[in-house]
Amino acid sequence: MRLLTRRISGGLSAKRRSRFAAPVVLLLGLLITGGAYAALAPANANTKTDDATTIAKGRALFLVGCASCHGKNAEGILTVRGKNYGPALAGVGAAAVDFQVGTGRMPMAQPGVQALQKPPAYNADEIEALAAYVASLGTGPSIPSADQYSGKVSNQELVEGGEFFRTNCTACHNFAAAGGALPGGKFAPSLVGVSAKHIYEAMLTGPQQMPVFSNGVLTPQDKKEIISYLKSSETEPNYGGFALGSIGPVSEGMFAWLGVGVLVGFAVWIAAHTSRSKKKKEA
């Protein structure tokens, strides 16, 4: 197991060397005080001795809850028509497991075009075990540490996060991160209230139809900026009153007609002849 740990951590540091642009590494260095290794794999560092038990526990959980779709060894299962029943999981990484299981998308309640978010079926320890098991199958993105997705950013970085968000995310998730429709009944979910860690993991792993935004191109710093922008937007007051769902002009149009309805009501009141005898007879 020690060998496995080395492989994971080795893979990670190799990735960091090759993919992170130099300034980002510097910046990370400033941000991370306890050393890059501890920052990137704190769980590993603390629980080295428990790895084998964790993975074994994860495998046990996997066989009960996941294997029916993903196969006994997570090799994936195809449908009769050759489509994915449950994809192979080697190499998807711990981050993917943490996202899918942590947001309740996995295990799926029923087959469908898209796994839906629901209360998670597993607790934090079980998710960690499942993640460790899946990570042991092949190298993939690991669960990000807290300082990767949270922490102070400058206002300039926040604004750049907004630019990244509008360039890469709003097309599906909407300008207010309220979500939007995709073909065939699929949809991009609302990002409001989603934890920073899960947003980071989603960008890193590209769950379901969402494209991947790997660290090689959209650097961890970029991701952190995006998350900071989203989180700061969540705490923004609604400057103009009730937000009406923040889904753009369609809902606004509905409310405009409501306003016309109110004004027509006023017109009915203005023209109502309260004391005329004709009114009484008609009643």
């Binding site: 090759s18 993919r19 642009a21 750049e160 630019e163 990244f164 360039t167 890469n168 097309a171 599906c172 939007g180 995709l182 073909p183 699929k186 991009a188 590209g206 379901q208 139809q209 969402m210 494209p211 991947v212 935004f213 790997s214 090689g216 191109v217 959209l218 650097t219 970029d222 007051p237 609604n238 400057y239 103009g240 009153g241 009730f242 009141w269 203005i270 002849h273 309260t274 004391s275 005329r276 005898s277 004709k278």
Partner: protein, 346 residues
């Protein structure tokens, strides 16, 4: 009113039931009961008084509540906007409701009758108008002097020309602009926003990068950006691209496009061929790209073919390769005009 019914208006016989005539007027409580009248009077006056209160409150809120990035908030809403809107709205509504109550309860409510007239003038007026006009026409001699009439008509018609010609400088002629973009051989494909260049190995399968030509992030010899302001916006409106990575086996390139990608990485124009919205709703598993404006859907694994929606033409593809440093570059410019159709497009 003092006048009489117009005999020219249609008077259909009231059949099968004769017209019983206007109902008699019945008084309102406020007409007969002095107490009710006083009550209504007080009601209207207090509404007007309330309006004044709200107008003053508006001014208080204007100065008391903070705006800007850290505004006073109530229930998570900008307090200034809400307070000003509510105070102003109620001040106005109180006046409106008061005035209408006044009209409904206290003003005379006897309906009165006015007679209508046909819209048409009387026959005598018409005759008189026509004869005046003919007299004027005759005195001008416009009918007798066709030379003057026609040359005047010609002259005024010609004045249309300067008016139209003046519009010519509204903008330059299109020339070849709609058919070209800034892409040409060797330009690096970089990530939008920060201009980071892209190496194939940085992209994993299922990845989407919103890209731009590196030119947009470069400076000229004097350190000024090559593209900024309007020129940047105009160039960007055509040159924006998306770069996606798929399993090479999933891609079915046209025969002449076999070497347009790098290890399953393909680059397409981001500008929809329908009416030009930038598209980046890419489904990594189906390889479909959806336009959020009108839902045209393109299959990026199949040469950008339209699979759904109102777009008529496939999404133009940008041939890419890697340069000596291993970064993605365009191996040629776009082979066809990007964006929406236009007449001369062919």
């Amino acid at each position: 009113m003092g006048d009489t019914p117009d005999s020219h208006l249609a008077r259909p016989a009231p059949e099968p039931i004769p017209d019983p005539g206007l109902e008699p007027h019945e008084p309102r409580p406020t007409d007969v009961d002095e107490k009710a009248e006083k009550r209504a009077e007080r009601q209207v006056a207090s509404l007007f008084g309330l309006s004044m209160v709200f107008a003053v409150l508006f001014c208080v809120c204007y100065f008391a509540l903070k705006v800007g990035n850290h505004p006073t908030t109530w229930l998570g809403m900008g307090a200034s906007n809400v307070a000003l809107g509510v105070c102003f709205g109620l001040a106005l509504l109180c006046i409106g409701i008061g005035a209408i109550q006044w009209a409904r309860k206290l003003m005379g409510d006897q309906e009165i009758v006015e007679y209508r007239h046909t819209a048409a003038s009387s026959e005598e007026d018409r005759v008189e108008a026509v004869s005046s006009l003919m007299k004027g026409v005759a005195e001008s001699g416009i009918a007798r002097r066709p030379l003057i009439r026609n040359s005047l008509l010609g002259a005024t018609a010609m004045l249309g020309l300067p008016a139209i010609v003046l519009l010519r400088d509204l903008g330059p002629l299109p020339g070849n602009d709609l058919s070209t973009t800034v892409w040409k051989k060797g330009i690096r494909v970089v990530q939008d926003v920060d201009g980071a260049p892209i190496k194939p190995e940085d992209m994993v399968v299922g990845q989407l990068v919103n890209g731009e030509p590196a030119l947009f992030f470069e400076n000229d010899a004097e350190g000024e950006p090559l593209y900024e302001g309007v020129r940047l916006q105009q160039a960007k409106a055509k040159a924006a691209v998306i770069i996606v990575r798929m399993q090479p086996d999933d891609i079915t390139p046209l025969p002449d496009r076999k070497n347009w990608g790098v290890e399953g990485i393909l680059c397409y124009s981001k500008i929809c061929t329908h009416v030009g919205c930038p598209i980046s709703l890419w489904e990594q598993q189906t390889h479909h790209l959806l336009c959020p404006c009108h839902q045209s859907t393109f299959d990026l694994a199949n040469n950008g073919k339209v699979v759904f929606g109102p777009a008529a033409r496939p999404l133009p593809q940008l041939p890419i390769t890697v340069d000596s440093e291993g970064y993605l570059i365009a191996s040629e410019g776009f082979q066809e005009p990007v964006g929406p159709s236009f007449w001369e497009r062919g």
